[in-house]
């Protein structure tokens, strides 16, 4: 029998992922550990899965946080990141949102040219990208197209997304060590 997978929920707030260890900066949530996102008290290669749900848009430095995620995750661990698409009103609804991101915003962690190692040494493999759109656009089939054809997603990001607006982006990454 394989042991229970170890899951870290970074910025768990009040909706900690079942069975995970939650970290946050506020004691008012469900956190097990209060700490800085870039200096967590965990040993290298501890977790099988790390989740960052609606939190990377708020951090001071996305590079530093993902470097720390990379450090505490095991080789081939799953990393799930969810954030508003920058064309959704929700990207602007919080005074804590520092970053406005698109479905290609994490590309340099997965398919970066060698010189980018200088900025982002942490390496991930992109397993899946899932975009949600507003209800009308979903009903008209655009969400299906965006998620099933990478070329269409690119076309949507370049030409359509200020009209056919996005809602959330979810990445599933795999840690490369």
């Amino acid at each position: 029998m394989s042991p229970q997978p170890r899951i870290l929920d970074v910025g768990c707030g009040r909706k900690k992922y079942p069975g995970s260890i939650g970290i946050d900066m506020s004691p008012a949530g469900q956190a097990n550990v209060l700490c800085d996102w870039t200096r967590t008290p965990f040993a290298d290669s501890t977790f099988d899965e790390v989740r960052l749900i609606h939190m990377i848009e708020e951090v001071d430095d996305i590079f530093c946080v993902l470097a720390e995620v990379h450090r505490v995750a095991k080789p081939n661990a799953r990393v799930v990141i969810m954030t508003p698409h920058y064309t959704d009103h929700a990207s602007y609804c919080s005074p804590a949102h520092r970053w406005h991101l698109s479905s290609f915003s994490l590309w340099f962690f997965s398919e970066k040219p060698a010189e980018y190692d200088y900025y982002a040494p942490a390496q991930f493999r992109e397993r899946r990208v899932h975009v949600t759109l507003l209800r009308i656009w979903r009903a008209l089939g655009f969400q299906f197209l965006v998620n099933h054809f990478r070329w269409f997603r690119k076309f949507w990001e370049y030409y359509l997304c200020f009209v056919i607006r996005g809602k959330t982006v979810e990445w599933e990454l795999e840690v490369v060590k």
Partner: protein
């Protein structure tokens, strides 16, 4: 006489107010940098605080609002003017750190986070008034009237229309709750 603080007053201080700015060549009465320590006033010092085109520049909106809330009396009002994120002015100034919409301050309203109070801050205030301004063309066509008149239309506009029928300026008046 009500005590008024004009934060980031620039050269045109609000009449009858104490002006605060970080730049000595303004009409400021008090020189202070908002990102380096708090405001140099006691708790509950002011009946009214104004911050016009300031909040989009600060390093930390939540910490700044905590200071605004601290120095304003209970029941006092805070006026904030800032660009809507769909206006070109939100992006034309390289010192603008934040891009905001008409829901950006829900964070501080009682029950503002889907019926619950936000637990990352103790600031509580109520929205007394919101005046949203659109570009001339859209105002002429009646859209400014609609977004200010109907909450439902404003929501639809924020979700679906605001990248085409673009916003310009948001003027919020908040009442401080303590």
């Amino acid at each position: 006489m009500p005590r008024i603080l004009d934060v980031g007053c620039g050269p045109t201080k609000y009449p009858g107010s104490i002006g605060l700015d970080m730049n000595p060549s303004t009409a400021a009465d008090v020189l202070c940098h908002l990102d380096r320590g708090g405001l140099p006033f006691r708790d509950n010092s002011f009946d009214h605080l104004r911050a016009e085109h300031i909040i989009e520049h600060v390093a930390d909106i939540i910490a700044t609002m905590e200071e605004f809330h601290r120095v304003t009396k209970p029941g006092g009002t805070i006026f904030i003017a800032t660009p809507h994120y769909t206006d070109y002015s939100s992006f034309r100034d390289p010192t603008h750190r934040w891009h905001l919409n008409t829901y950006s301050f829900l964070y501080f309203y009682p029950g503002g986070m889907h019926g619950r109070d936000m637990w990352y801050t103790k600031v509580r205030m109520r929205e007394v008034k919101l005046n949203l301004r659109l570009l001339n063309l859209w105002r002429t066509l009646g859209f400014e009237f609609l977004v200010n008149r109907s909450r439902f239309f404003r929501q639809f506009w924020e979700h679906y229309l605001s990248f085409v029928i673009r916003g310009k300026l948001m003027e919020f008046t908040f009442e401080v709750i303590k």
